[in-house]
């Protein structure tokens, strides 16, 4: 269980985040959703330990980790731009952490991750030879080898398009389920957030606008921001799709993911 209590953060006197209170159960996928500049990445950095909070507590399994340095917290992140090391091939990227800490994952566990993420045929490749989706999977594998207690993903889907996006979504869900791993995802896309996660944390102007299950957010939006900016966007999308797929205009194929 990860609990955040009264978290506050400001830079140079400007408050970025305030009154952040929430709890995340073990194994849950939670999306942090909001427009750019709302403070969602700052919240992610605070959980990771990359930034220091001004006030409040971050409790993991009941212990305040706010003063635990980033590398000792045991959380891990996949950055938006993946931060893969171009001088190393795919396999060496994946096993990078083992050189510092050989016992953290067994050989079998690494092999399982490689297969789970479909990277076996790419192991000898250079990073620059990979597509966006492949890079994302390598970055995921590299982080999973470290057995993070919480997995943080910064905009994991925004650089990907179409079916690749859906397949990565499926992988993220599978990892969270198979490893019973608490996963926190930052995104600006309501569709992504609501279809990927168990709970969605909507942030606006540095504080929580609504926190709940996707169903609750759709059925019981708590304020105008959620209604106008989150739901309205989804409705427009839905209507567009419905117009395309109106009666008698349905495609003759079945949907496939992955």
């Amino acid at each position: 269980m990860l609990e955040i209590k009264n978290l506050k953060k400001s830079y140079d006197g400007v408050t970025i985040l305030h009154d952040i209170n929430l709890a995340i159960d073990d194994g849950e996928i939670v999306s942090i959703l909001g427009p750019s500049g709302c403070g969602k990445t700052t919240l992610l950095n605070l959980v990771l330990g990359l930034a220091d909070a001004d006030e409040g507590e971050i409790l993991f399994q009941g212990e305040n980790v706010l003063n635990v340095p980033m590398e000792q917290r045991g959380f891990n992140i996949v950055f938006q731009d993946y931060a893969l090391f171009p001088n190393l091939n795919v396999y060496k990227n994946i096993t990078y952490g083992l050189r510092n800490n050989p016992s953290i994952s067994t050989r079998q566990e690494v092999e399982d991750l490689i297969d789970l993420l479909g990277l076996r045929e790419h192991l000898d490749k250079k990073i620059e030879q990979l597509s966006g989706g492949q890079k994302q999977r390598v970055a995921l594998a590299r982080t999973m080898v470290m057995k993070p207690k919480i997995l943080l993903l910064d905009e994991p889907l925004s650089a990907l398009d179409g079916v690749i996006k859906e397949s990565i979504k499926a992988k993220i869900k599978q990892i969270a389920r198979d490893y019973h791993l608490t996963t926190i995802i930052v995104t600006h896309d309501p569709e992504e957030a609501l279809t990927l996660s168990d709970k969605v944390l909507i942030i606006q102007n540095g504080t929580i606008s609504q926190y709940g299950k996707p169903d609750d957010i759709i059925q019981k939006p708590e304020n105008d921001f959620v209604k106008e900016f989150i739901l309205n966007q989804l409705l427009i999308k839905k209507n567009n799709i419905f117009t395309l797929f109106r009666q008698g205009n349905e495609p003759k194929i079945a949907a496939q993911v992955g």
């Binding site: 340095p69 731009d81 990078y96 510092n100 030879q129 470290m146």
Partner: protein
């Protein structure tokens, strides 16, 4: 604080600052004081003496004049060469030749240019013999102009060629579609975007001419310039260090002004992110004109150097023209000359090694740390100062500060001097390369258990290797050819090739001068191709692997 404390980078920052404090700021401060120091404390007496003395103001005027004329001529010539490369349909091989030939003079010390001019255009010169008559009087204005133009052409060409490659050629298509006349298109889409760079080229060439010592040392003749006055005050028959310090300070003024101008002009530089490749419009006349003009320019430049391949290999120029290796053999059997060559190689290699480390460390603190902006600005200012200080001024400052210390007459002081003198350009190369790298590498690697140092060794350095090699090569070549600073600090035991050339001039041993020049050229060519080979070899491996990439990559299932 949870954030990493970055103690390593603070240590590196401290070291870099310490080096520049001891070897740049203190010597400069000392020079400044010296110029005011009289028998009775601080005074302006030396300045009055220098300014009212015979010759100085004239030399100063001469310097301004010759530097301005040279800068204009060079910029025009370099523009023609760059235009031929970027805007004409010339064969790729010819363009490659222009690219290489235009920068070739960089591989030789300026002091050699002067002697090459004497042996080409002098009364008995190679080219004079070919034409049957001396084309112009080489001592004084003409010789200096020729030398300065050859000296600054590479820099100007590189500046203009670089900007031209980034100027969006699509604008010229738009301009033509909009119905502009060819002249209007040229002015609007070639000249206008280049204005900043053209001005920068002028200013940079002016600075180089104003502060160079090698060329006036050999062909200056009666035409006194600031650099020769400075040399004579410090190392002439009646040395006067205080007056020399004054002259050095006076040399600093135009330098500071030009660098300030360069910074100001940077604002006018157009920056495009990518190079747009379009087909160049057909224009047979244009191609012919620029092709021939470029050939003429390069022919003139290279013909001046032809002589250094001829003179040392004949019996006695120009009276007994018979091929012989006697001079070469005699140089290599002269123990003192061998020591000089060894000194040069050691100094160049160590300059390159220490210089690469210093610039890398400095660039790490500015490009890959979270140190406060004010701290980073310190490094930026150091880079700016080193860019402003002429080599002669550093050399004189060192002479004042380190004479009588154990550092006097050591290779160490020459190496440090080179590292500091040439700091600015490689630092900027390094910083630009490190800034472009992914900003999250250090955090990611730390989350996987790396220390900062481990990440630098395992990730950052391998990815920066291409630039590090470039920096190494830049320092090496410049250390081989530099004259202006080392002339004041090289001792009898630490003589390097360029200072030895200066000494040989005194004894009119020109065969040896040219053999040593050839040696510098050979070493620089070898070094450059070696570094180039290492750098491209690394790229080839990448290309090969890319080629093996399967056309269709399977999606995950």
């Amino acid at each position: 604080m949870n954030r990493r404390k970055e103690n390593e980078i603070k240590g590196i920052f401290g070291l870099v600052v310490l080096v520049f404090l001891i070897f740049l700021l203190i010597p400069l401060a000392r020079l400044f004081l010296k110029s005011f120091m009289g028998d009775t404390g601080l005074m302006l007496g030396h300045y009055a003496e220098v300014l009212t003395g015979r010759g100085f103001l004239e030399a100063f005027g001469n310097s301004l004049l010759i530097s301005s004329v040279s800068a204009v001529v060079t910029t025009v010539l370099a523009f023609i060469l760059a235009y031929a490369v970027h805007y004409c349909n010339l064969p790729g091989g010819y363009k490659g030749f222009i690219n290489r030939a235009a920068v070739a003079p960089m591989l030789l010390p300026t002091i050699t240019y002067g002697f090459a001019i004497i042996y080409s255009f002098g009364k008995q010169g190679l080219i004079t013999q070919l034409f049957g008559t001396q084309l112009f009087d080489i001592y004084g204005f003409n010789g200096l102009l020729l030398g300065y133009v050859i000296y600054t052409l590479p820099v100007s060409f590189l500046l203009l060629s670089n900007t031209m490659s980034y100027v969006d050629k699509k604008f010229s298509i738009v301009s033509r579609i909009m119905g502009d006349s060819p002249f209007a298109t040229f002015v609007g889409t070639v000249l206008r975007p280049l204005l900043g760079t053209l001005a920068a080229s002028f200013v940079q060439c002016f600075f180089l001419c104003f502060t160079d010592y090698g060329i006036p040392a050999s062909v200056g003749g009666e035409f006194e310039v600031v650099a020769t006055v400075l040399y004579n005050e410090m190392l002439g028959s009646v040395p006067n260090f205080s007056r020399g310090a004054c002259v050095a300070m006076m040399m600093l003024i135009p330098s500071v002004v030009t660098i300030a101008l360069l910074h100001y002009l940077e604002k006018y530089n157009i920056r495009y992110n990518k190079i747009s490749q379009i087909e160049i419009r057909k224009g047979a006349v244009r191609d012919a004109v620029f092709g021939v003009l470029s050939a003429l320019i390069l022919l003139c430049v290279l013909s001046v150097f032809a002589v250094i391949f001829v003179v040392p290999f004949v019996d006695e120029w120009p009276y007994r023209i018979r091929f012989t290796l006697e001079h070469v053999i005699s140089v290599f059997s002269d123990n003192s000359l061998i020591t000089v060559c060894r000194n040069s190689l050691i100094a160049a290699f160590l300059t390159a090694a220490v210089g690469s480390l210093t610039t890398y460390g400095a660039a790490l603190t500015t490009a890959r740390s979270h140190l406060p902006g004010k701290v980073k600005q310190v490094i930026e200012n150091i880079s700016l100062i080193t860019n402003t200080i002429p080599g002669m001024v550093i050399g004189i400052a060192y002479m004042l500060v380190f004479s009588g210390t154990p550092l006097q007459n050591t290779l160490f002081i020459i190496i440090i001097c080179n590292v500091i003198h040439y700091f600015s350009t490689p630092y900027l190369m390094m910083k630009s390369s490190l800034t472009k790298m992914n900003a999250s590498w250090e955090t990611t690697a730390m989350l996987m258990g790396d220390t900062w140092l481990k990440t630098i060794v395992r990730v950052v350095t391998p990815n920066a290797m291409g630039t590090i090699l470039e920096v190494f090569s830049y320092y090496f070549v410049n250390a081989m050819v530099t004259v202006s600073a080392v002339i004041f600090i090289a001792g009898a035991r630490t003589m390097v090739i360029t200072t030895k050339i200066k000494e040989l001039q005194y004894y009119t041993k020109f065969n040896e001068v040219f053999v040593l020049s050839l040696l510098i050229l050979a070493v620089n060519l070898a070094a450059k191709s070696l570094f180039h080979y290492i750098a491209t070899d690394r790229q080839k491996v990448k290309v090969k692997k890319t080629a093996r990439r399967p056309v269709v990559s399977k999606s995950i299932s």
